[in-house]
């Protein structure tokens, strides 16, 4: 395969950054949800879970 180094850097950084961002969203959500009173966590108390 030609240009393999460029492809690995481009794809690797893209997927890596996306994964890190996704993990940070989940972590921020968990941290905040634990601090907000239950009555104000709107979508979190439904049968959706």
């Amino acid at each position: 395969m030609t240009h393999l180094g460029y492809l690995l850097v481009g794809w690797g950084v893209t997927l890596g950054v996306g994964a890190i961002y996704a993990a940070s969203l989940i972590r921020r959500g968990r941290r905040l949800a634990a601090r907000v009173p239950a009555a104000r966590r709107r979508w979190m108390t439904t049968e959706d879970e």
Binding site: M1, L7, V13, R30, L32, W43, D48
Partner: protein, 244 residues
């Protein structure tokens, strides 16, 4: 019921979206590296298109969402829309950064350079990226909710005004750009290359939706937390007054 309370921003919808993104990414890697054929001119470097074009498309989608949310704030003072605008802007900055990065890495083997300051498409995209970082900075400046949202909304609308210029730049300044014309509309892509690109766009769309829902909920919680803290401070102050 207390036992039903969950301490995260997920839901059945986001879990379904997240699982779809994961499966889609595995399919995209397999299609992009092992099924789609190399290009006659660009050889295997063309495989960068499967991540670069979806990133660019969802940069547009994110900043248009920010612009819509900003206009709705300015017209209706809607907190919900302001929250959507802020959430979409953060994701847009992520996608815009990835668009610039993957375009640059793709440019080296195809144009023989990572960057060209004379290229209108590249420079206007960089200006958009910086403007939207400015938008996020304005949102974090502090001050009243109303003032912060209004200042940010103005920047959000101005940023979105760049989008048509960026999009049409390869036609308007075709002698002043290394960038090829739209990969989707010039009709040069076909077969598995075109199919893989569409898979990439769908996967990026699912990731955008997943991120937007989570980011919106985080912003909502941040707002609720500020209100809760303020309520508590007021209660403490009243209790202090009663004691005196």
């Amino acid at each position: 019921m207390e036992s039903d309370i969950v301490e995260h921003t997920g839901s059945r919808t986001t879990r379904l979206l997240g699982a779809s993104v994961f499966v889609g990414l595995v399919a995209l890697v397999l299609l992009g590296f092992f099924v789609a054929p190399p290009d006659d001119d660009q050889l295997d470097a063309v495989r960068m298109i499967f991540i670069h074009v979806p990133s660019a498309i969802f940069t547009y989608v994110a900043f248009v969402t920010t612009a819509i949310g900003s206009v709705m704030w300015l017209l209706r003072r809607s907190i919900w829309w302001d929250t959507v605008a802020g959430a979409a802007a953060e994701i847009g900055v992520l996608f815009c950064g990835l668009t610039l990065f993957t375009g640059s890495v793709w440019g080296r083997p195809t144009w023989n350079t990572y960057w060209d300051w004379g290229d209108v498409r590249l420079v206007t995209t960089l200006i958009l990226f910086l403007m939207m970082i400015g938008y996020l900075s304005v949102r974090s400046l502090g001050g009243s909710v109303e003032a912060t949202a209004t200042r940010a909304a103005v920047v959000g609308v101005l940023g979105a005004a760049l989008l048509p210029i960026i999009n049409r730049s390869v036609e308007w300044w075709e002698n002043n750009t290394l960038h090829q014309k739209s990969s989707l509309t010039d009709g040069k892509l076909e077969g598995m290359t075109l199919f893989t690109l569409f898979v990439g766009i769908v996967v990026w769309g699912l990731f955008f939706a997943w991120s937007l829902i989570h980011r919106f909920r985080i912003s909502w919680l941040e707002r609720e937390l500020r209100t809760t803290d303020l309520d508590q401070a007021l209660r403490d102050r009243r209790a202090e007054g009663h004691r005196v």
